[in-house]
Symmetry: C2
Subunit: 165 residues, 2 copies
């Protein structure tokens, strides 16, 4: 994990008159330990495996804080729960491609896309603050050989499967 993240959160915390706590440090540690997307519940589970154990409420509240501090981004994968993406610090303008066949999410950057979007936005009389592009697509490679094993259930439900608590 980028060692600078705790510090960047500190700056925000100072500015707002908030407090640095063990729970916040630990959550930041866990959030940025991988480049994987996750939901609040998934993160809560990951943290529960730890000796310490942090309450669900604190997990939710800290995620909101990180989003507010612009260290973490919420993305919408269409499954009725907020997914968090820790990779915007490294790639501030990346986009998401979701494979309809297997549900895999691929991140990609393309400067032309941002340029064009900004240009169109300006033409409309606005200044773009945040752009969210999600492309849902089928895999060409698999198109001929059939498709991913989890295709069926996903196609049926139309969305990512939910988990029980």
């Amino acid at each position: 994990m980028d060692a600078g993240i705790q510090e960047r959160l500190d700056v925000y915390i100072q500015k707002k008159g908030l407090r640095r706590t063990g729970q916040r440090e630990e959550i930041v540690e866990e959030v940025f330990s991988k480049d994987e997307h996750f939901t609040a519940e998934e993160l809560y589970d990951r943290i529960r495996k730890t000796t310490s154990g942090i309450s669900r409420a604190t997990v939710y509240r800290t995620l909101a804080l990180l989003v507010e501090a612009d260290l973490l981004r919420e993305i919408d994968l269409g499954d009725n729960q907020t997914t968090y993406d820790p990779n915007f610090l490294d790639k501030p303008a990346h986009n998401h491609l979701v494979c309809i066949d297997c549900g895999k999410v691929i991140e990609f950057e393309d400067s032309h896309i941002e340029l064009l979007n900004d240009c169109v936005t300006r033409r409309l009389g606005f200044r773009a603050v945040r752009e969210t592009l999600k492309i849902e697509a089928t895999c060409e490679q698999l198109r001929l050989k059939g498709s991913c094993p989890n295709l069926l259930e996903r196609r049926l439900s139309g969305r990512r499967l939910r988990k029980k608590r």
Copy 2:
């Protein structure tokens, strides 16, 4: 409303062995009577003002049916409820710009955006099925004179205000 929509739903209904009902006709009528975005609850309220009255469950189920039949699209405006957009039949590839100042949603089409997205998608080895671009932006016109009246509350909550039932 485009008179062809009931017929297009009929085709889908036939194909799936489903049934044409008064409730479905009425909901389709209401959904496509304006080009406004709406939530399930908002639509339910609109319909409740009608003499007939249709149950909330039926409204939700019929919206899901319309989405399945590809006559209606779900969009995410970031307020934790599904918003429905009835305008994709007329403008199959439009995008949304959300004004951070006042929350207004502006629809726009730009063929270059779709071309570029498709191109990038192909380069990644996929075939785009659906593209969703949301641009959050500030209004340049208002930037100097101040901002919209509802700016403050929206900025504070960070999302569109919710309504109670």
